[in-house]
Amino acid sequence: MKKTLLMLLGIFLFVVSAVAQEKTVTGKVTDNDNISLPGVSVKIKGTTSGVSTGIDGNYSIRASAGQILVFSFIGMVNKEQTVGSANVINVTLNSDTKSLNEVVVTAFGITREKKAIGYATQTIQGAEIAQTQRENFINSLQGRVAGATITPSTGQPGASSQIILRGPVSLDGDNQPLFVVDGLPISNRTFSQGALVSDRPNRDNDYSNRAMDINPEDIESVTILKGPEAAALYGTDGSSGAIVITTKRAASGKGLATYSNSFRVESVYRFPEIQQVYGPGFFGVDDPETRSFFGPKFAAQAPLYDNIDNFFETGFTQKHNLTFEGGTQALSVRASGAIDDQTGVMPGTGFQRLNFRVSGSSKIGSKINITSSLNLINSRIDKTYKGAGSPMQSTLTWPSNDDMSVYLTPDGNRRKIDPTNALEIDNPYWGVEKNPNNDKTNRFLGNFSISYDPFPWLGFVARMGSDIYSTIGNSLFHPQSRFGTASRGLIENFTENSQLLNGTFITTLKKDYGKFSPVFRLGYSIDDSRYETNATRGEKFYKEDFNSLNNTDPTTQRFKNSNPLKRRVGWFANAELGYDRFLYLTLTGRMDGSSTLPAENRYFFYPASSLSFVFSELKPFADSKVLSLGKFRASWGLTGKDARTPYITSSTLVPQGTTGGGFALGFFGGNAALEAEFTEAVEVGTELNFFKDRVGLDFTFYQSTSDKQITAPRLSYGTGFVLKYINGGVVRNRGFELQLKGTPVQTKDFAWDIVSNFSRNRGKILEMPAELPTFYLSDTWLYAGVRAQYTKGSSITSLGANSFLKNNQGQLLINPSTGLPIRDGNYTQIADRAPDINVGLSNSFTYKNLNLSFLLDMRKGGDIFNGNELYLYVNGLSRLTLDRETPRVLTGILRDGLENTSTPTQNNIIVTPYLQNAYYTSSYSEEDFIEKDVNWVRLKDITLSYNLPTQLLSRTKFISRANVFVTGTDVFLFTNYKGADPTVSGLNASAGGFGGSGIDYGSLALPRGINLGLKLGF
């Protein structure tokens, strides 16, 4: 009835307009914040004539009374105004927040109405990401994306961050999602030390994850795809989800320039806490030449230095970003340039980046559309080593009664606490100066796409992309360094030349038949990726302080080339069957061919389906004033995955540096019978919006089961190898994601928006590969006896470790000769790093031109290995050792042969740790340093911004918009965790499985940053 009325009204107006007199209508278009909007399209409905607003938001158009003006602008709700008697029509456009009209970019740049999608997606606006002022935009996703776990490797500039959506599936391989920019994949690789000559385990150094090269200011939006159907479209790389980035494009209209900057100071404010009561020595006896602190108390008047605080500096960062955009409907161009210059909180660390990007689109006729972009990135990272023996760790054990900043001896050599011990870890001041460690990257990202729509029902899109970069890494240990002494200086360099080429071709057929609105897509994709690394290494420096491989003894120079090359082809078909705007069924099938599988198993097919049922379109909900959107969705799908590593269908002979050279079989046994692995995923969810979308709920439950994954467990050497590639194991992940949104207050001047994300994931190993009793990841075994370890039935995020021996009654066993507990050499599962629940809570308050928004990242539960505390403990620096002078008898049973009888001997041996240092140094149990159920609340970011009033700006004539802001990042952390930072990683983002998350050892905590900046539009 309503519709009929409207139609009648329309016809009436049309008739009226036909007879009306044409006149000039002028006006101004502004947004909610009363900021003028340039480039808004103003069209007369039903005609082709239209204009765009100018830089000041003003327009002028010839129209007749009764005609309807349609104002449209990307990201805004269209507005229609009927021309009446007035000659001036000012319009305010509202941001498009209405979920019904929301559009989601899915695979290959396919945009779909959100309501038609039968799986969970989440979109974050680029502005929100850029506002956090983070160099690595992935770090801004923590807390914003339900189900995403982001683990930064350290708090150093340029640090890599690992992102895992929902939960890890692969036991030992990469679990990070695919990154897609404007429809084509880009590399988010973190350089892995496996390619170095020394083939190291990614513990002592960090390399950036390459998605951080993207300039956050170029991001229009980021969509996170987690469901199986999304993956089915992207194929094997998308099986861990996809981060789909859409970059900013120029709007047609008059040219526009924006400039923004930001200045940040940052400082680190959380450290492992050390005791400053007892001095260096052993057994209560002073020994000024040790960095173990079991000596007597420091003298009351002894000057003590705050070496840790003194060492760390205030980091400073500046960013400048300049953008030009403009053009016509037929041709538009956007160009941006950004400079980042950061110095870190550790002396000598820093990050510099130049990022230039040009993107354009042009229309040829009405049927052909071409878009392309070029992005050039140049970056340099100066960093320090992490983990064991790193400057971070050295700051902890430098004696408090010694001024650490005196790092040279009078004759200019490395100053040591024990002058005779060349293997003492480096003084941190000396280390950061003498052991340079840096990476330089040049990257070129190109993207070209052409679409041709010969008929309204038929369209073709072809895209081609290239991602080419080269990273040059240099790390050195000075001949006097703890790690350079034996080799008399050590340089290790690498050049990684990476190249991703990909193309897709998609045909779309769509036509509405009454209430049916089917869309069919047929697509083809082709990918070629290669990462060629040349690594070099040399020892025995001729000249002590000269950082060049030419400065090393030729007989020590080594070289290694690695060149993993992968190719894939994929065909996919996708049918979206919509019925009457409320029921959508999507069916997808994909066949992939991969070069990494044996030829006979090379092709594999996998289907997916999803259903979206928008019941709010139906009666009685359609008329409901309460429910504005009600949707139920379900999806099921299989995802096929090829071998992530190429060349593993047969074993590889690796070069040997031993006398005589030659080749020998490597650690990994190849397998000519490998086949694609499959993950079956189901997902159900609902979206409910109430009160005109003022309140919204989005809930998803999912389960994925991976079967026969390609993995390389350790096996008996009877295989002839140390590890062997096999298909095996069943891993199940289950969890939920809940997003609640609300706008509790919305008045003319004041608005309050809340978005909260809750998520939980549980990954469980239902079957072990090859029915192995256990499977551990050696890279995670980085300190003491703690390591990521799997057994049947265990969590995929579990840690195994040594604990104390117990008798058959579970009582602690005590060594009868020492009175100390006995370490059990067996590895038992003792921790699960997965949190019970993750919560992200963001709030935004807007009052007139002022906005305050902040994001809290919270988590409950999940265990963390406080390796730093254990390190301090065994060196007598932990505050847990302060009661060392108290004699004690440990409750337990003597291991005297009677321990498992009915009459065990109670321990009665008195131990005074002050005199028996073994109490700390060798009688610890790793289990005591696993902190259980760690909770935290971290203020990830907070921004206060102010838009300068337009009246004020209009006087300048050239500044159209101006905004000043203050942003704080990682401002505070409330946690029951006793260490410095529970979020950092013991490894870097190239580690497989769950990586080094939850292993806190030798990594710098995240610093607190305060940014001050300005944005100007011209």
């Binding site: 034996a486 047929l522 083809y524 082709i526 020892e539 007989t555 020590t556 080594r558 080339n561 690695s562 060149n563 090359l565 190719r567 894939r568 082809v569 065909w571 061919g593 991969s594 070069s595 990494t596 599988l597 030829a599 090379r602 190429p646 060349y647 269908t649 047969s650 074993s651 590889t652 002979l653 690796v654 070069p655 040997q656 540096g657 031993t658 006398t659 005589g660 050279g661 030659g662 080749f663 020998a664 079989l665 650690f667 190849g670 350790r714 096996l715 008996s716 050497y717 009877g718 295989t719 002839g720 190898f721 140390v722 096999i726 090859a770 029915e771 192995l772 009793p773 050499g825 590895y827």
Partner: protein, 517 residues
């Protein structure tokens, strides 16, 4: 529409066939995945020494070649370390480092008709089985390297002994083959030990047969004539010694025992080796080899450590025992060191001297004492020459006069009648010291250390002392075997290992088949 669909279908089919070629790139461009015999052979030599040298750090303590300066060491107490890969390197080298690489050589050799390469590969595998079983006892034989298995059953020691004989005989046959396309010069490309000389490989194979058979001296089936026959066909002089070269230029190609690798800083020569050379054992005769092989304290006196006793003078700079490199207790730096503890010293796998001592013992057991004396003298003389080939620039070689004096001393009896089995075993201990660790251990076990063998021979009674006490798990018994590698068998193959008793805490004291009657 139909035609369009079929066009599309045809397009897909065409692109599929094109894809085959496009996707055929799964071979590593950086490293070969198929190799020729001559490029796979060289690293196998370094794997042979790697296994023995790595594990010698512990085995050398069991057999009292050396010990630590600190007391109560678990290995000197014949103990072991649970949940550790320490002592597991021979296992690793046998199954992984040497392992399937041998198959690759044999495959390629058969394909290219280079029988000498096949013979070399079989001889090395025979050596590796012999070393592995003498060290570990039972091992995975029949199911080893089976591509379809994840767990592997153990086979008995007699089966492995038989396998050594089979492989050594096959090696001898292959090396003696004429025809085919092999040649000494082609073999020399990969053979950095015998430089392509198949006759030396045949001698080495006979040497293995001699070792294999001689180890069974306690069995009633022991046949000294056969041992003598093998010894006579084995190494004929020091020129036939099987010595693995070490470049010594960097930490990768340097000798594991050299200063550049820095693995022996804590090790001290044992009192046995000192007493065998300083005149304590050989009636006051000072052995000229002592100053060239061993390290004197700062006061010029040679001292050694007793089992699990440590160096009582370790804090005294004048009287403490230096490490084996001979310059105090610190690492003297790359390029330094003495005897075979140098960066570029070769590591012996089999020496003429050892073969002569095997022969001497076999002749002695047979009752041919004069023959035994000749072999004994050959063994001593050859080892003196061997020592001379390992002196460094700062040390004067043993002069002709010194050697002659020693050969005429009381250490070398004038007549066969004066020769004792003790002398043979004592001189063999010197000649095998610090390289033939497994062989010395087999000797010690054949004679039940200082308890004597089935025939009542007890040559180590006067020199070998048991530690007191033995390690806690030993139940008062000496070490007889080393457990299979932890991170191979205890973690991934426990079920099979338990079947042979590997789960027992005193498994390492269970006697092996070879040393039993």
């Amino acid at each position: 529409m139909k035609t369009k669909l079929s066009v599309l279908l045809i397009g897909i089919i065409i692109s599929l066939t094109g894809c085959e070629k496009y996707l055929d790139i799964n071979t590593d461009p950086s490293n070969p995945q198929v190799g020729e015999a001559q490029i796979i052979l060289p690293p196998i030599f370094s794997q042979m020494e790697r296994g023995v040298q790595f594990d010698a750090r512990y085995l050398g303590r069991y057999i009292q070649n050396w010990g630590l300066s600190t007391a109560n060491d678990r290995w000197e107490q014949h103990g072991w370390l649970a949940n550790s890969d320490a002592q597991g390197e021979i296992w690793r080298s046998h199954y992984y480092g040497i392992g399937k690489n041998i198959d690759l050589i044999i495959e390629d050799a058969n394909k290219t008709e280079q029988f000498n390469y096949a013979g070399v590969a079989k001889a090395i595998r025979a050596w590796s089985w012999q070393t592995t079983t003498d060290y570990h006892g039972e091992a995975i034989l029949k199911q080893a390297f089976d591509d379809t298995r994840y767990v592997f059953d153990y086979d008995t020691q007699p089966e492995i002994y038989a396998e050594v004989v089979r492989l050594a005989n096959e090696a001898i046959a292959d090396l003696g083959k004429t025809g085919g396309k092999g040649s000494p010069s082609k073999l020399a490309v990969g053979d950095i030990v015998y430089k392509g000389d198949a006759t030396k490989w045949i001698k080495f194979s006979y040497g293995l047969l001699a070792r294999n058979l001689h180890n069974l001296s306690n069995k009633s089936s022991y046949n000294p004539d056969k041992v003598i026959e093998f010894a006579d066909k084995a190494l004929q002089s020091n020129a036939d010694n099987f010595i693995i070269p070490n470049g010594g230029l960097n930490t990768t190609d340097g000798n594991f025992f050299g200063p550049i690798r820095d693995n022996l800083a804590g090790y001290r020569q044992s009192s046995i080796i000192v007493e065998l050379m300083d005149g304590t054992v050989f009636s006051g005769v000072k052995d000229p080899r002592m100053t060239r092989m061993l390290a004197a304290s700062a006061d010029g006196i040679f001292r050694g450590v007793g089992p699990a006793k440590g160096d009582p003078n370790r804090l005294n700079a004048t009287t403490r025992i230096p490490n084996v490199w001979g310059e105090g207790i610190v690492n003297p730096g790359p390029g330094k060191g003495k005897y075979i503890f140098r960066d570029n010293a070769g590591f012996p796998i089999m020496t003429y001297s050892e073969i002569q001592f095997i022969k001497a013992e076999a002749l002695f057991r047979k009752g041919d004492k004069n023959g035994a004396l000749t072999a004994y003298k050959n063994g001593v003389s050859a080892h003196i020459d061997f020592v001379n080939s390992n002196v460094t620039s700062g040390i004067t070689p043993i002069s002709v006069g010194e050697k002659a004096a020693y050969m005429a001393s009381a250490a070398i009896p004038a007549t066969g009648a004066a020769l004792t089995l003790d002398m043979i075993m004592h001189q063999k201990f010197i000649a095998l010291w610090a390289h033939a660790f497994v062989e010395t251990w087999s000797d010690l076990r054949r004679f039940n250390y200082n308890q004597g063998d089935v025939k009542g021979n007890n040559p180590y009674l006067s020199i070998f002392e048991f530690p007191t006490p033995f390690w806690v798990d030993n139940n008062g018994k000496p070490i007889q075997r080393v457990r299979p590698r932890f991170n191979s068998e205890y973690v991934w193959n426990m079920e099979a290992l338990s079947k042979i008793g590997g789960d027992k805490s005193d498994f390492h004291t269970v006697k092996l088949w070879f040393s039993q009657p």
